[in-house]
Amino acid sequence: MPERVRVSRRMPPGHVRAPAYLRGKTGVVERALGRFANPEQLAYGLPAGKEPLYRVRFTMAEVWGAAAERPDDTIDAEIFAHWLTPVTERQDAP
């Protein structure tokens, strides 16, 4: 997994653990946590494959834009790999 990642903007219904306030936001992988059973399957009593889970660090500026209380404060969250895509510098432009 590359260092910079973006959380998908997908908004499916159902039990997902990628919080809405981080969707579409770009962060940096703080650490890889290993593979964990996919909660989107477990929640419905379905067989669940183990998916890579990452701790991703976001700046307040990235998450809240101009409304950020302090731009360089951060939020770390655990996000499953299927919600993340690698980001290159070029794609970073708005």
Partner: protein
Amino acid sequence: MSEFDGHRWHDMGGREAGAIDLAQHDYALWEKRVDALMVLASEKGHFTVDGLRRALEDMGEQAFETMSYYERWIAAVNQNLLEAGVYTIEELGRRMEEVQARGATYGEAAEKRDA
């Protein structure tokens, strides 16, 4: 027309909200029992914590606003146990009726008459 954009009620990060309420309450015995049933039945493989969260989320915001924490948890535990086939709705309904008939308070109703 619905203005819902897919952002569900329980997904609270960043939303407007009031002041933090620092009041604290002790747990009652029935609440501790709900907690124990949740831990034991999930350790024994009858549901996952994800299944409980899914049930809590699907109960909706009204339940969050009007029911206490362990009221919601027993509802979610029951939902998952029914789905897992541990007991049937009929068994539950009959037993709840029987429990209610034992007395007007928790102390009375928690006494098992047939024991």
